[in-house]
């Protein structure tokens, strides 16, 4: 109960902190809408009018992924810049309990992108929000956010070990969109991308949302997405314990 409370209060505070940045909010809302616009025109010109809702949802998932990739990948660095990293690491808690709320918060703020693309689609292009499984869609969206938050923990712990993590984050954004099938079905991609897609929680999260939108077996995808993410959480937790000790040895907790 106490652990859940720490996670819940931490997540709420970090969502508040992130949501009050006008710059980050503008990026979180504008970029997915631009991407969704491009997707709608591509789908229309391809004669796939019936898939416009998928385009809106797909662009929203891309927004969630971007939020997690940059927010979680840079979570430790941004706390360092704020000067809060030392204070949160001084808490008598496991590092995973301190950092996980931040990465889940980046997934939750990514939801703004999904809401923005759905509202944009409904009012500008008249896309009917006609989900095949509305309840499953909400559950899949929540699981997708939490799962990507756990995946984000692994990113946070590993990116902090790399000198050029920002460059790596930039190069990961588009390939993961593609490989995970957020807009284009992964069946049209080269076969060698299959194994990569299979181990990414983004693939299963996007698939669960697509199936809830247009019909299909949602729950197996939700289950696999959660399973992979829990594995990421365990690996991320171990990596963070190592990172914390290394940072104390190398004196990098406070470096701005």
């Amino acid at each position: 109960m106490s652990l859940l409370r720490v996670l819940a209060v931490g997540t709420l505070m970090h969502v508040k902190q992130l949501s009050r940045s006008p710059f980050e909010m503008a990026i979180a809302l504008v970029v997915p809408i631009v991407q969704a616009t491009l997707a709608v025109y591509l789908f229309r010109s391809g004669g796939e009018q019936h898939r416009l809702l998928e385009a809106a949802v797909g662009a929203g998932v891309m927004g969630i992924w971007s939020s997690v990739l940059f927010g979680s990948g840079g979570a430790i660095q941004s706390q360092r810049w704020l000067g809060t990293l030392e204070m949160i690491m001084l808490a008598p808690r496991r590092p995973v309990l301190v950092i996980l709320p931040i990465t889940i918060a980046t997934g939750l703020t990514g939801i703004y992108a999904l809401l923005a693309t759905l509202i944009w689609g409904r009012f500008l292009y008249g896309i009917r929000l006609d989900f095949a499984h509305p309840v499953a869609f909400v559950v899949a969206a929540v699981v997708c956010v939490v799962a990507l938050g756990m995946f984000g923990l692994l990113l946070a712990a590993t990116f902090v070990l790399m000198r050029n993590a920002n460059a790596l984050a930039n190069t990961l954004e588009y390939p993961v969109w593609l490989v995970s099938g957020m807009l284009v079905p992964i069946t049209v991609l080269p076969s060698w991308t299959g194994p990569i897609a299979a181990v990414l929680p983004t693939t299963w999260g996007a698939r669960a949302l697509r199936e809830a939108t247009s019909g299909g077996p949602v729950w197996p995808s939700v289950g696999v997405c959660l399973g992979i993410s829990v594995l990421c959480l365990a690996l991320g937790g171990l990596a963070l314990t190592y990172v914390e000790r290394r940072a104390r040895a190398a004196a990098t907790l406070a470096l701005a």
């Binding site: 508040k16 009050r20 690491m89 001084l90 008598p92 104390r248 004196a251």
Partner: protein
């Protein structure tokens, strides 16, 4: 627990290693702390005094688990700072000077709620404890405002409230009054004194001699990574025994004149402090030698203000100790 001391440091050493450059990487090593040994009793208010770069903050971070010692060992409340990190962290609070380290876009209340949860304050006690601390630091009524709108002094007070949330046995204060106005600094000193009076062990680093003199039971002067002197303020003041101090306010003193003062018979040290257009010259000399006349002769032709000859203070003792390091 069992230990009589709240803090025990034994030959603590810390070296920082850095690497710069890509093609021809250059490695540098800086020995920030070079064998620091001291103990702090339970409930004692202990000061760590020293110039910039002396190793004060590194020492505090070695003790509060943020850094791992290169060698040596330290215990806080009987727990080893390297291997029993979580036990140590449960018992300590850390407050540093400056206006970073808070979530600016959250209110003070949200900051305190978050850290109360992180630092393990029981949920049923959180509301009462936060209200008590807001009262203590004078932020009651302003707790709902975002921290980004706070003055530096208010942020500093919020730092202190955060450091006290979990009622730590040992409080580390790293230059808490830096950048704080004199009235707020006086309030801060009163708060620190009250904490020590109620049994909290406090380790305070500061540049301000008056602060250390007023508050600390004992002071360690640290310079060049080593403890140069340790004792009560009165004991340290004796380090300047046998000296006399001449202070001269002057305008536009050239470096050559200061060099000339250093060469006068009986002069031990000189220091120049710029205060806007004014320079304050401090000349330490042997007590039995009256150097005031010689000093004024050397400064002939320079516009002078107040000239004073006095007994040495703790600050003079500090200058003497640091200069000898």
């Amino acid at each position: 627990m069992g230990s009589d001391y709240a803090i025990e440091a034994e030959d603590l050493r810390r070296t920082y290693k850095a690497r710069t450059g890509w093609l021809k990487p250059k490695r540098t090593e800086v020995e920030a702390v070079r064998g620091v040994t001291f103990t702090v009793g339970r409930g004692e208010l202990f000061g760590l005094l020293g110039p910039n770069g002396a190793g004060k903050t590194t020492t505090i971070k070695l003790l509060n688990t943020l850094l791992i010692p290169t060698s040596g060992s330290a215990r806080v409340c009987g727990f080893d700072v390297e291997s029993q990190t979580r036990e140590v962290r449960r018992r300590i609070g850390y407050v540093f000077g400056g206006d970073r380290g808070l979530y600016d876009r959250l209110s003070a209340l949200d900051n305190l709620r978050y850290f109360a949860e992180l630092y393990g304050v029981a949920p049923r006690d959180q509301k009462r404890r936060i209200a008590e601390l807001l009262d203590l630091v004078g932020l009651a009524g302003r707790e709902g405002e975002r921290v980004e709108g706070y003055s530096r002094g208010m942020r500093q007070r919020l730092h202190i409230a955060r450091g006290l949330l979990h009622s730590p046995d040992v409080l580390f204060l790293d230059e808490p009054s830096i950048g704080v106005d004199p009235v707020a600094a006086r309030e801060l000193r009163r708060t620190v004194a009250d904490l020590a009076a109620t049994g909290t062990t406090v380790l305070l680093t500061t540049h301000y001699m008056a602060e250390a003199d007023e508050l600390c039971d004992r002071i360690a002067v640290i310079a060049d990574g080593r403890i140069q002197a340790l004792g009560t303020p009165a004991e340290l003041r004796h380090r300047a025994d046998g000296r006399r101090v001449v202070e001269v306010e002057a305008y536009g003193v050239p470096e050559s004149a200061v060099d000339a003062l250093r060469g006068l018979p009986g002069v031990r040290e000189t220091a120049v402090e710029a205060r806007g257009a004014l320079q304050l010259l401090t000349v330490h000399s042997d007590a039995h030698v009256d150097v005031q006349g010689d000093v004024l002769r050397e400064l002939a032709g320079i516009r002078l203000g107040r000239v004073d000859s006095r007994e040495p203070t703790l600050e003079d003792a500090y200058v003497a100790i640091v200069s000898a390091a």
